[in-house]
């Protein structure tokens, strides 16, 4: 297989933006696709602000910022991903949406292009089945916030060839990430544990056991976790959590994966988390996490 030089990222939300930073920062030409121009503009502005902060903190050289941004190209035209060696999908956790996207990408991209999904819950084999190229399809689940976390859960589907998986693994290493091979089971490792754990935290709030602030404080102090579960949920977003729950529960019927009613009420009230300025906590800005 040809070496990967150009990377496509489909979706410019929290995960897509983070993955695009990782790719552009590692030296890859990075094409970020979204259907909405305003979403791309926001992602570009957040990316530049994040990189400038990284430079201020000495994590990258100051002159690296324009260089990295020079490799970051936003587009609303799927055809612009035609020359990509790999396309990483980071859209909603909805199998039909993913199949529609990959079906179109299959028409646009050359036969050499690898497809990867950042799905955190849906089976890779199922997504690959609607992609038109299940043999050249791999799961690459980045962790939130992708621009800071090194881990990638790598999952082959049932039809993924060894050459595809090896090429994707080498690409993950070239990104400067730490790949871990997992089985193609719902939630892989991280979300199998995290989705029910976060739901349990929401249920403590619903049941009046403690306030969000006290729950986060208790977990961070007792266990040394860098974020409390409700702070993390605010970063994930209630809309995303609902989709994660629906996907996970549909696959596992695990009662703890059921979406808590409070999540639906918060979505209805516009309290989506950090991106809307309020979730379980109130925020003064929508800057990206970390630097």
């Amino acid at each position: 297989m040809t070496a990967i030089k150009t990377v496509g990222v489909a979706g410019s939300g929290t995960m897509g933006s983070g993955i695009a930073i990782v790719a552009a920062r590692a030296g890859f030409v990075t094409r970020v696709y979204d259907t909405r121009e305003d979403a791309l503009q926001r992602a570009r502005a957040q990316t530049e602000a994040f990189l400038k902060k990284s430079a201020e903190r000495g994590k990258i050289a100051a002159d690296a910022v324009p260089e990295i941004m020079g490799r970051w190209h936003g587009t609303t035209q799927l055809e612009d991903l035609a020359d990509c060696d790999i396309v990483i999908e980071a859209v909603f956790e909805d199998l039909k949406v993913k199949h529609d996207l990959f079906g179109k990408l299959n028409e646009v991209c050359g036969a050499q292009t690898l497809f990867a999904s950042n799905t955190s819950t849906i089976a890779i084999t199922e997504i690959a089945g609607g992609s038109g190229r299940p043999d050249r399809f791999v799961g690459m689940h980045f962790c939130l916030p992708a621009q800071l976390m090194k881990l990638i859960e790598m999952s082959p589907g049932m039809q993924t060839t060894e050459a595809t998986f090896a090429a994707a693994w080498a690409f993950a290493l070239a990104l400067g990430q730490k790949p871990v091979k997992t089985q193609d089971t719902p939630g892989f490792i991280l979300n199998y544990f995290l989705i029910p754990f976060n739901n349990d935290a929401i249920r403590l709030v619903e049941q009046g056991v403690a306030s969000p602030a006290d729950i986060d404080k208790a977990i961070k102090t007792a266990l040394g976790y860098p974020m409390g579960p409700l702070e993390l949920l605010d970063l994930i977003g209630m809309d995303t959590q609902r989709l994660l729950c629906e996907a996970m529960h549909d696959l596992t019927h695990e009662p703890r994966a059921t979406c808590p009613p409070l999540v639906r009420r918060m979505i209805a009230a516009g309290k989506l988390g950090k991106k809307s300025g309020e979730g379980f906590h109130v925020y003064g800005d929508n800057k990206m996490y970390g630097a």
């Binding site: 991280l190 754990f197 349990d200 208790a218 266990l223």
Partner: protein, 220 residues
């Protein structure tokens, strides 16, 4: 805020010297009951504590209501709270104090109790009077799931731990953490929560049950 300490045996929260113990004043009206018999001792002395600035009773796996009752229509604010300093099994106690309040706490008494712990360098999280309080209620199903998935060979113990450390920034993976702090203690806590809540997510995992049985045989 001055307070006296009434010791009723070994305390899981304060097994060794600590600023909170050193700051105690035997003449103070506020009262902190420590040790395995803390609740029982309070029940014997509760008439004398009605006007105390606050009363704090050390809890293990039980609810505060077991010692002070919990009438559904209580209207008088309560100056009595429960507390536990969180520790996992054989590990040292953490800095976290879970301060347990019932439905109608006296706000001045609550502020005084909080200040007493915080002045000793502890971190206070306030919670309602529910089994497992905050941390055990949240982490025990997670730890059970990790033990069960290990049985099901989702991944090796070290890969599962590494994924959770790197993916979520946890300082230690759940399997290593439970083995370090004693799987048999996980059994004891989860069994108590399973009995209190009747939720299968708290039913002790196979490995923890075996560890408990083995520890009991060794102790016999």
């Amino acid at each position: 805020m001055a307070y006296q300490i009434v010791r009723t045996g070994e305390s899981r929260s304060f097994p060794a010297a600590h600023a909170f113990l050193e700051k105690a004043d035997a003449s103070a009206a506020a009262c902190v009951y420590l040790g395995a018999q803390a609740g029982k001792q309070y029940m014997r002395e509760q008439a004398d504590r009605r006007l105390a600035p606050f009363v704090a009773i050390e809890l293990e796996n039980e609810c505060l209501g077991a010692w002070v009752g919990e009438p559904a229509n209580a209207t008088a604010p309560s100056n009595v709270f429960g507390f536990a300093r969180f520790r996992l099994g054989m590990a040292e106690p953490t800095q976290l104090i879970e301060l347990v309040v019932q439905a109608n706490p006296d706000e001045a008494a609550l502020a005084a109790a909080r200040k007493a712990f915080e002045d000793a360098g502890l971190v206070v999280a306030v919670c309602g009077d529910f089994p497992g309080r905050i941390v055990d209620r949240l982490v025990r199903p997670f730890y059970n799931a990790a033990l069960r998935r290990l049985d099901e060979r989702l991944a090796t113990a070290s890969d599962m731990d590494m994924t959770l450390r790197m993916g979520l920034g946890y300082p230690e993976g759940p399997i290593a953490l439970l083995e370090r702090t004693g799987l048999e203690h996980h059994y004891t806590v989860t069994q108590a929560l399973y009995e209190a809540l009747g939720d299968g997510a708290y039913a002790p995992a196979r490995r923890a049950a075996n560890a408990f049985a083995r520890a009991r045989l060794v102790n016999d």
